[in-house]
Symmetry: D2
Subunit: 209 residues, 4 copies
C-alpha cells in the first residue's frame, strides 16, 4: 500500500503584515509524519484565487487528508474549525483589493459543510500535550472560510473520500509585539508542534482503521 | 571595578499549579548577562515569608539590580509593573493557607513605591525585538505585590542605591491548555528571552552611565 | 388585508439562573408593533422540547415573521445570528438534565440554515439608534441553536414563506452583578427597546414591499 | 447639626465623544440623598485645570464627602478605585491638547494615596442590589487619576477630615453602539442608580457613626 499523502496549506501574509504565522508554521513541518508524506503549499489570500489554487493542488496530488491553516489574530490557541459557511464578507480588502459584502461563495451551494476531521479528538490531543487548543464554530467570512468551504465542497462533490479541515492559529509574538500588545500570541514553533501533533493523530487513526 | 550583580527571583508554584512560569523562565537565564553576574532565587509564595526571604537575599548578595518575576495568568505578554501598593488582599489562599483581606503590608508605610527600573524603555526594547510586553499599573494585591513593595521599601530605607522592579509573566502554554483554554500564554523560553533582553538593557544603561 | 403576525419567543431560565433576560425583554414588548400583532411565547430550555413547542406555535399561529431570543452571557450587545448549524453539544445540562455531545439535531438534515431576517440592516438600525448590536456567525450548540435550526428547517420544509431569525442578548445587570462581575450586561429595558426596533424595521420593510 | 454636604463631580466629554456618561449620570442624581445635600460640578478634562477647579470647589463648599466620577471605556460596571498614583501619562491628548509623558503630578509628592471611601462595602452594596461593580487598583494615568490624586492630597494636607474617592463608569450604550460595538456598556440611568446607592451607603455610615 502506498503511503498516505497529506496536503497542508497556509496563506500569504495579508492586512499589511509581513508574515503569516500559519504559513511560517507549515514551513517548519517535516516532510514525513508517522510515515505519511506531507505536501506543503501556500495559497494566495485572494477571494476566488485561493480556492482555485487549492482545487488545482487537490487534483494534482490526490491527498487523503487536507488541512488548511490560517491566521486568526486575537485567538489564544489553535482553533480547530468545525464548520465552513457559504458566505463571503470582508472587513478588510484581500491582497488584490477585493472586498465582497454578504455574497455567497457559491450560488445554489449548501449553506455549510462540517469539517470531516476528528476535531474534538484533535483538541483533546493537543491540550493533553500542552498546546492551547479549542473548538471553533466560526471560521469567519474572509478568504480562510472560502477556502475551507471550497475544500469540503470539492471533496464531497468529487467523492474523493478524503478528509478535510481547517485550523486557525494565533498571532506570532512578533506580530502582537508590533501591532497589538494586548493580543494573545504563540510562537510559530509552538504552532508547528501543535499542527504536527494533529496530523500524527489523524494519520494514526486512519492507519489503525 | 567588580562586575554588576543582578538578583532575579521567581516564585514557587501556587493555586494548585504544578509549575510557575516565572521561576521556570528564571532557570533558563544564563549566569552572566552583558558581563553582569546573575544570582537566581526562588521565593516562597507565602505572605510575609516571600518578602523575608527576599530581604535576606538582598542583605547577603548586595545586588545593584533586582528583578522579581511572578505569574499573572490572563495577561498576554511580559507585564512590566510600575507601582507597588501597601495592601494585601488575597482572592485565593497562599501556599500556607493565609488569606489576608484588605490589610496593610506595613502599618505606617508609604501608600506605594514606584519601580526604579526603566519600565517604559524595557517595554519598548522588548516590543522592538518581537516580545509581547506592556506597562502595567497594578501588580495586584497578592504575594507578588507584597514582595515588590517590600523590595522597594528595603532599597529606599537601606539607601542601597540599587534598582528594583517586577515583571509579571503569562501562563505557559501547558497551563493554558490544561486549565484555561481561552487564556493567552507564552512559552517559558519566550519569557526567558524577554527577561534576558530586559536585563541586558539595564546592565548596558548602567555601564554606559 | 389582515395585519402581519409576529411570533417572538424567549426561553425559560437555565444554568441555575433565576431569570432569562431574553424572556424578560419579550414580556416588555407591546402587543402591536407598527400595526403588526405580536404573539409572545416562552420555550422550555430542553433539547427536543423547545423545538417541538416552537413547531406547535408555528402551526397554531401561522406567523409571517418569527424571532427567537436567547441569553448569551458574555456578549456585550444584541447579537444578531446569521446561521444555525445541525449540531447539538452541551457544555452544561439543559433543564431536564440532557447533555448531548456532538450529535446531529436532525439526521440527514442540512448542515446549516441561514437566517432569513435582514440581519445586517437590523444591526445597523440598532447601532444608529444607540443600541449595542453586532452580527454573529455562531449561535452556539445548545438549545438556542437547536431551536433556531428547527425554526428555519420548518419554515423551509413547510414552504410557509415566513421569515425567521434569532437574536442573542447579554446578561441583565443583576445577573452580572451576582454571578460574573467582569461580564458585560444590558438592562432588560434596553434589550426590549432593541428588539422592538428590530421588529419595527422588519414590519416596515415587509409592508413597503 | 447641619446636614452633610456631598460634592460629586463629572468630566466634560473627551477623546472626540459627544457625551461623558459620568457627567450625564451625575445630572440625574437628586439634590438630596438620605438627608445629605448634593453639590454637582463638571470638571474640565484638562491636566492641571481639572484639579484646580476641584480644589476651588473644595474650598468653596467644604464637603464632608467627595466622589469624582469618570468614564473608563471598556470596563463592564462601576469600577470603584482604590488608589491614585503620582503619575501623568496620556495616550490621547486632553481637551487642550496636552499630552504629558511619564511626568509626576506633583514633584516631591507621595507616590500614591488610597481612597478614603469604604470601597469594598460600596462594591458589595451595589452587587447585592443588582448593579455591576468591582474594585479597581488602577485609575489610569490620564486626567481622572490626576484629579483623584489631587483630591486626596488636598484632603490630607488641609486636614479637612473629609472622605474622598473615585468611581469609573462604563460607556453608555449609545457610545458603544457608535464607536465600539464589542465594548461593554451600561445606560446612564443604571450608572446613576449605582452612584446614588453608593452615596446613600456612605451617608448612612457616617450618620450612624
Amino acid at each position: 500500500m502506498s503511503p498516505l499523502k497529506i496536503l497542508i496549506t497556509g496563506f500569504a501574509p495579508f492586512g499589511g503584515q509581513d508574515l503569516n504565522p500559519a504559513y511560517e508554521a507549515l514551513k517548519l513541518l517535516p516532510g514525513v509524519i508517522e510515515g505519511a508524506s506531507v505536501v506543503k503549499a501556500e495559497l494566495p489570500t485572494v477571494f476566488g484565487k485561493g480556492a482555485q489554487v487549492l482545487r488545482d493542488l487537490l487534483a494534482a496530488h490526490l491527498p487523503q487528508v487536507v488541512l488548511c491553516l490560517g491566521q486568526a489574530g486575537g485567538r489564544p490557541g489553535l482553533s480547530v474549525e468545525r464548520v465552513a459557511i457559504n458566505l463571503k464578507d470582508a472587513a478588510i480588502p484581500d491582497n488584490e483589493g477585493n472586498r465582497p459584502a454578504d455574497e455567497l461563495i457559491r450560488a445554489g451551494g449548501r449553506a455549510a459543510y462540517f469539517s470531516t476531521l476528528p476535531t474534538r479528538r484533535i483538541v483533546r490531543h493537543l491540550q493533553e500535550r500542552g498546546i492551547p487548543a479549542d473548538l471553533s464554530y466560526t471560521a469567519g467570512t474572509f478568504v480562510c472560510n472560502e477556502v475551507f468551504y471550497s475544500l469540503l465542497q470539492y471533496q464531497e462533490e468529487e467523492g474523493t473520500g478524503a478528509k478535510g479541515g481547517f485550523i486557525h492559529v494565533p498571532y506570532a509574538p512578533e506580530q502582537a509585539a508590533n501591532f497589538s500588545p494586548l493580543a494573545p500570541s504563540l510562537p510559530i514553533a509552538t504552532v508547528a508542534a501543535g499542527v504536527e501533533l494533529a496530523i500524527a493523530l489523524m494519520v494514526n487513526e486512519i492507519q489503525e482503521g
